[in-house]
Each structure stands twice: as structure tokens, then as C-alpha cells.
């Protein structure tokens, strides 16, 4: 499954299923942030714009925004994160998913990196 993941330069991962885009943060990002203690989730029904910080992750070190890789409507949020924000640290690519965004038409994800490209990209950060 992880092979289908695409990555952004801001270290989010994106999983496309039809016109639904599931978003989380990469293993590298969770490791950099440290223990996550709070996730300020958006609400289902919110409209997010590409490039917009739509969710805040609070770790013991800092607060970081999660940026939307696509524009669309939030159709699901991972409510388990409200009580168990550590899921992002423990399982960033699976149980630590954050939101699902429904886009109009086909998701424009051509600019995003494959897993190998992201691995290369990380060598440069």
C-alpha cells in the first residue's frame, strides 16, 4: 500500500482513491516533530484551499501546520487522534491518517513525489 503513497515537499503523504484524497504526515515528519500531544483537526464539511494550513499538530517541541496538497471539502477526519494523538508517531502512514478531502474532478497530484523521489528529496533536507 505504501507504494501508492505520494509525498509533498512539506512532508505530508497523500493517498488517492478516486476523487477522495487521504492525507497524513510522513515518518520523517513525525520523527522531526517528536511526541505529538494534540491534533487540532478541521471539521467535516470545511473547505480547504491548496497550500492552506488546515490542521495543526502540537508536539512537545513545537506546533506545526499541515498544508493541504489539494483543494476540496473535508469529508472525514480521524477522530481517534482527538484522544490518541500519539497514533501519528506510532503509525504515521496508517492509523495516524489525518483527513480525507473530496476534490472536484480528478485530483491534481502530478507535482507530488513518489516514495523513491521523496527518499531522494530527504537526502537533500
Amino acid at each position: 500500500m505504501s507504494e501508492k503513497l505520494l509525498y509533498t515537499k512539506e512532508h505530508e503523504w497523500v493517498l488517492v482513491k478516486g476523487n477522495i484524497v487521504r492525507i497524513g504526515i510522513s515518518d520523517y515528519a513525525q520523527n522531526e516533530l517528536g511526541d505529538i500531544v494534540f491534533v487540532d483537526l478541521p471539521s467535516v464539511g470545511d473547505w480547504v484551499e491548496e497550500g492552506e494550513g488546515f490542521c495543526a499538530l502540537e508536539s512537545v517541541k513545537a506546533v506545526s501546520d499541515v498544508y493541504a496538497p489539494v483543494s476540496g471539502k473535508v469529508v472525514a477526519v480521524n477522530e481517534e487522534l482527538e484522544d490518541s494523538p500519539e497514533l501519528i508517531n506510532e503509525s504515521p502512514l496508517d492509523k495516524g491518517w489525518i483527513v480525507e478531502i473530496e476534490v472536484e474532478g480528478t485530483p491534481q497530484v502530478g507535482d507530488l513525489m513518489s516514495e523513491q523521489e521523496y527518499a531522494e528529496y530527504l537526502k537533500g533536507v
Binding site: F38, D40, S43, D46, G53, A56, E58, A62, V63, D65
Partner: protein, 447 residues
């Protein structure tokens, strides 16, 4: 801060490096006709002894509640202040302490703030309190902004019965944030929010409804009705409360409030011609990360001993920058400490006694005043420590004449659109004798 002397020699040295001869040359670009000629009309220098005498004379022209018998309230109240407060607050460890960024060296201040927060939670019946705000009005404005952030809505419903100066502060905070304000009208007879005219208000769009308890006119609002409306619409209930009234009334927490704010002046703070006092701010655990201001938390140190730290700082602007919950990055620590000592010294029973005496004495004076021909009660809702009286009298002129008798009269409400109303406040500090003397003096002035 170092004192930097400026000698004639140094002046000359600086002028020489600028290629100038005298100070006046610095102003040569200003046309001569625009320059003030001659000497300014200000008095010459005074010796230390002359200066002290001069300022004593000026200060002596002020009249305050230590010299007058005060029935003035409307936000600042003449309550008794136990003298132990000034002795503890005046200790160098508290008086000179800077904001407690470093827990390693500021355990005392941090603990005092933690105790303050605990007391505010007990008083309001809420789960979390911050370390204090600048004053009650700005705390209310912050509560409105917090409600907007928490609900993602951009409209707040305020009562027309909210203190007009608080309304102005809230407007100032909200008007550049694209938040609109809608008012709930006042019922002409009860003087409280008109519950029959709530249906047309935009509840579904409202981030919060605000209730001031007691309201500006000293009247007790029906909170339950407003709570039901706003919670049904998934908005928040914000209560602005008088802390002394909480000694007798059901706590905002029990009433279902989501955010509780108020002005702390009545908790052991001198009126001081209007300040400084402090504001308090409390909320629920659920909303704690939306709360503005600093919060002190209890933890354990490396050796497992009880310790205090500033906590949940990721809400604040030194970390969150433009996304902080608020740009308040300070608190009124010394004033909050005074309130903490006040509440500790009084204890639960003493605090209840203060509230009970306010209620009884205010009620007695209201009854006595209404015996004066020409005076009547404008509103029917119950009151606590303040009440309005109606009379076709020039209340501003009456107040001037009351001053000659050593009384500070009530607040004439003419400048708030009620030309025939005056607002009286009666605290536990008033004696029956003072009340009786005031009533008979006022009777004489009116007749």
C-alpha cells in the same frame, strides 16, 4: 537602566562632529516664522521640598472613597480590603518579580498564580482558568474571539443590558476581525434581556451569546433560557460575572457556561481612580487549548517533587506566532495575587457574608429610597448589589450637592440614554447609619 549624563562638553563634542555650533542649529530647516519665539509659559524649577508640597496640594484636590461615603459602582466597587493584602503583595519577592519564564527560579510566583487559577475555578465552577487578563471588558472581548475560533463562526450575540463601556471595548476588538455583533433587546419592564424577542436572532450563525450577570442595571438575568437557545444552535454560552455575586448565586459552571469572564476589582483591589485591577477568564477542559493568556500547571521535577511551570504555551504568540489564540502575552500577576490573598483571608464563609451583606444593604437602601416621593423603581427583575432608581431630577446636579455633604452619589445614566435614571451601588462597607444619612440628605435635596 543606567543614568546617562549629558554635560556641556559632551554636547559641544557632538555638535562639533556634526559641524554645528549650537543646539539651535539643529532646527535651522524649520522656517523662522514657524518657530516659537520667547519663553514657554511653564513654571520654573522647584526644589524637592517645594515639589512635594505642590503635588500634595494637587493630590489633596482629589476626593476618594476613603474620604467620602460612596454609593457609586458601575464597574468599580468600594469593598472592604483587609490590610494584610498590601503587606503580602508589597513583599519584594512578589512586587519586583518579572514574568515567570524560568520555572527554576520562579516557583513562588508560579505557585501563587496556580493557587489563583484554582480559586477562580472554584468560584466560577469551571475546569480551567488562565493566569488573569488585563480587565473584565478585554477578557470578554477575548472570550468572543475565542468562541468564534472554536465554532468557526463570525457573529456574536450581545445583550443590550451589557455595560455600555464593555460593549465599546468588545466592538473595538471585533470590528477589524470581520466579526459582526447582534444585540438582544432589553425588556422595558423587567430591565433584563427580552426573552420574548429572541426568536428572530441569527442563533444558527452565532459563535456565542453573552450574558452579563448581574447586568449593567444590577439586575439578574435568566441564564437558563439563553443557554438552551445557544446550545441548541451549537454555539457557546459566555458569561460575564461579578465575582462577589458568585458568593450567593449558582455558579456559571452549574448553569452550563462554556466561557466565564469578569473584572476582579471587587476582589481586594483598590478602586485607584479606575485601576489597575485584573480580569479573570475560565473555561472547560474541552476548550482549554483555545483559551487566551498564560496558564500555570502543576508537575513534578526531575526528583519527583511537586513543581509549577507555564504550560500549554503552544497556544501563545511566542510559539504560535500569527496563529496564537490571542496576542495577550502577559497577565496582571500582582493584582491576581491580591485577589488570591483576599479570598484566602475571607474564606468561604467570610466571602459568603460579603455577598449577603451587599444584598441585604442594597435591598434596604432601595426600599428606603423608594419611600421618597418622586422616586420609583424602573425595573422589576431582582437585584443584587446595584439598582437603578427613576426620578425627574437632575442627577448630575444632585451629585454635586451630595459631594458637599460628603457623599459620592450614584451614577447618572443620562449619558447612557436614560436621562431620569441613576444607578446606586451598596457594598458591605456601608453602615446602616451611612445609608440612613444618605437617604435623608437625598430626600432633602430632592424636595
Amino acid at each position: 537602566m543606567r543614568y546617562l549624563p549629558l554635560t556641556k562638553d559632551e554636547q559641544q563634542e557632538m555638535l562639533a562632529s556634526l559641524g554645528l555650533e549650537k543646539i539651535e542649529d539643529l532646527f535651522q530647516d524649520i522656517p523662522a516664522e514657524a518657530m516659537f519665539q520667547g519663553d514657554l509659559d511653564v513654571p520654573g524649577p522647584l526644589s524637592e521640598a517645594e515639589l512635594v508640597r505642590h503635588f500634595r496640594e494637587l493630590a489633596g484636590k482629589n476626593k476618594d472613597a476613603t474620604q467620602l461615603v460612596s454609593f457609586l459602582g458601575a464597574g468599580a466597587y468600594d469593598h472592604l480590603i483587609p490590610s494584610i493584602i498590601k503587606h503580602i503583595v508589597g513583599r519584594g519577592e512578589f512586587l519586583t518579580a518579572y514574568t515567570p519564564y524560568q520555572p527554576e527560579i520562579t516557583q513562588g510566583v508560579l505557585q501563587s498564580i496556580f493557587e489563583y487559577q484554582t480559586m477562580i475555578c472554584e468560584l466560577t465552577g469551571m475546569e480551567a482558568s488562565n493566569a488573569s487578563m488585563y480587565d473584565g471588558a478585554s477578557a470578554l472581548a477575548e472570550a468572543c474571539l475565542m468562541a468564534c475560533a472554536a465554532t468557526k463562526r463570525e457573529l456574536v450575540i450581545l445583550p443590550a443590558t451589557l455595560h455600555p463601556e464593555w460593549q465599546a471595548v468588545v466592538r473595538t476588538y471585533l470590528e477589524n476581525q470581520d466579526v459582526s455583533i447582534v444585540f438582544m433587546p432589553q425588556h422595558a419592564e423587567t430591565g433584563t434581556v427580552d426573552l420574548d424577542r429572541l426568536a428572530d436572532l441569527p442563533w444558527a450563525e452565532a459563535a456565542c451569546v453573552v450574558v452579563q450577570q448581574p447586568n449593567f442595571f444590577g439586575l439578574l438575568e435568566d441564564v437558563a433560557a439563553l443557554k438552551a437557545r445557544i446550545h441548541e444552535a451549537k454555539g457557546l454560552l459566555v458569561m460575564a460575572v461579578d465575582p462577589i455575586s458568585l458568593s450567593l448565586l449558582k455558579s456559571p459552571g452549574e448553569l452550563g457556561a462554556d466561557i466565564v469572564v469578569g473584572d476582579g476589582q471587587s476582589l481586594g483591589q483598590a478602586m485607584g481612580y479606575g485601576g489597575p485591577a485584573f480580569g479573570f477568564f475560565a473555561t472547560t477542559d474541552k476548550l482549554i487549548r483555545r483559551m487566551p493568556g498564560r496558564v500555570v500547571g502543576e508537575t513534578v521535577d526531575a526528583e519527583g517533587k511537586r513543581a509549577f511551570v507555564l504550560t500549554l504555551q503552544t497556544r501563545e504568540q511566542h510559539i504560535r506566532r500569527e496563529k496564537a489564540t490571542s496576542n495577550i502575552c502577559s497577565n496582571q500577576a500582582l493584582n491576581a495575587l491580591a485577589a488570591t490573598i483576599y479570598l484566602s483571608v475571607l474564606g468561604k464563609q467570610g466571602f459568603r457574608d460579603v455577598g449577603y451583606q451587599c444584598l441585604q444593604k442594597a435591598s434596604y437602601m432601595k426600599q428606603r429610597l423608594l419611600e421618597i416621593p418622586g422616586l420609583s423603581s424602573p425595573f422589576s427583575a431582582p437585584t443584587f448589589r446595584e439598582f437603578a432608581v427613576r426620578g425627574q431630577v437632575d442627577w448630575v446636579e444632585i451629585n454635586k450637592r451630595l459631594l458637599d455633604h460628603g457623599f459620592l452619589g450614584g451614577l447618572p445614566l443620562a449619558r447612557f440614554g436614560h436621562p431620569d435614571l441613576v444607578l446606586f451601588s451598596v457594598t458591605e462597607a456601608r453602615t446602616k447609619q451611612e445609608i440612613d444619612d444618605f437617604v435623608s440628605t437625598l430626600r432633602g435635596l430632592i424636595q
